[in-house]
Assembly symmetry: C2
């Protein structure tokens, strides 16, 4: 079943974005009457029927509500990754896709002392997140923040979260030895929201780790082997979901 | 510390392959006297000193033995992934890299009824595994099998394993509903070897699942969301390591 994203549903009609409309009309070449799924990216999933198919403005009429936020445990994934993106942006995009496939609440990009990359294209990030959400047939579109300095991120953290978001477990993953580190998967409580800050290829500086520790972050080690930045980010993103399933 | 791979160490001398020599001499431009690490890819790790640096045949003299197979739990990773490779080979190569970073015992490529890809370049696969082993500073090079039909793989399975390999937990991951599926992470015993067969984008056929079930494979579901082939393979590859750490 094809899944489309439509941010707004009014009077039982979903209006697709220009990009989604083009995909529907010109790439998939669907026709009016086709049954589709539509999500608003905020937990709702509808069974719908295409009513208007055009390159710029497809519309679909809602036939049934398949999922509502808040019902049967359907809530935004409780994982927030704060990441210094990789020099090779493909690697970061790969991480965004794989993290979203299993379930990601929010991604924030930060610039740190040893950052290799200072600029990230927000539109491109959003495109990757959207495609991954649709491909994995989920109803939650990960929230995303544009790049900002690490200090600015930590200081304004609570201000940026939506009321439904809560990531009380705060970790900073790094390779250095200046601070004692706990083992992430051992200390992680899978039923509470979790945030993990992942450093760049050159790691965090001791001063950056100290700053985060003073702001309530627990230094952790993610694995016994040395991981690339994007691999560390994915292990952190998958951690809570995997631990919850492993303990069932 | 730079880590190099040298399959043989004779009389305390490591002889690098042509590719490793080129990397050492022309890319990294190291000089005689440089301290390096050398692994044979079979669990041994040596501290060594470069003695000869040339484009074709670098050599290093062993100064100390840092790790030996069998000591302090240093054994080949106990995970074997059997994979129908993706149409886009980049995705499979991402998987190989990420699986190796955390620890992979063996990778076997199979061709199935719905396979998108019938050919895999073994040399390229080996290159990706080698680079990932070195980058993550491990001493075990994942074993790899060239592509073969699924049936041929299953029927000749035991024959191909080395004496030290043992993957008693045998799973087949697939999306269909013809057979009851267990949840992989729930049933997985993290301290025993595990093998997981991952299907192509089009999934296994019911006949293929039946064949594997008759040969001792347990059908499993890997996650509650729909995963891409290479994502499923990575979750399976990381599963045992993550569960072991999560339970500590």
């Amino acid at each position: 079943m094809f899944l489309f994203h439509a941010p707004r549903v009014e009077n039982g009609e979903c209006l697709f974005s220009a990009a989604e409309s083009h995909h529907c009309a010109k790439v998939l070449r669907l026709l009016p009457g086709q049954e589709v799924w539509v999500t608003d990216g905020e937990g709702s999933l509808y069974g719908a029927e295409l009513s208007v198919v055009s390159d710029k403005a497809c519309m679909a009429r809602v036939r049934e509500v398949l999922r509502r936020p808040g019902e049967e445990g359907n809530k935004r994934p409780q994982t927030h990754i704060v990441l210094a993106p990789t020099k090779n942006i493909d690697r970061t995009e790969w991480f965004l896709e794989k993290a979203t496939e299993v379930g990601l609440g929010r991604i924030t990009f930060v610039c740190t002392e040893h950052s290799e990359r200072k600029v990230v294209k927000d539109e491109r990030v959003r495109g990757v997140l959207l495609a991954a959400m649709k491909q994995s047939q989920q109803a939650w579109l990960p929230l995303s923040d544009s790049m900002m300095p690490l200090k600015e991120y930590v200081e304004g953290r609570e201000r940026r979260l939506l009321p439904e978001e809560s990531y009380p477990q705060k970790f900073i993953a790094y390779c250095g030895e200046e601070y004692p580190k706990k083992d992430f998967l051992s200390v992680l409580e899978p039923d509470r929201g979790v945030e993990v800050i992942i450093g760049p290829e050159g790691d965090f500086s001791p001063a950056e780790v100290e700053f985060c520790v003073r702001n309530g972050y627990t230094p952790v080690s993610l694995a016994s082997t040395r991981l690339r930045t994007e691999t560390a980010a994915l292990l952190a993103a998958w951690g809570a979901v995997l631990k919850k399933n492993a303990l069932r």
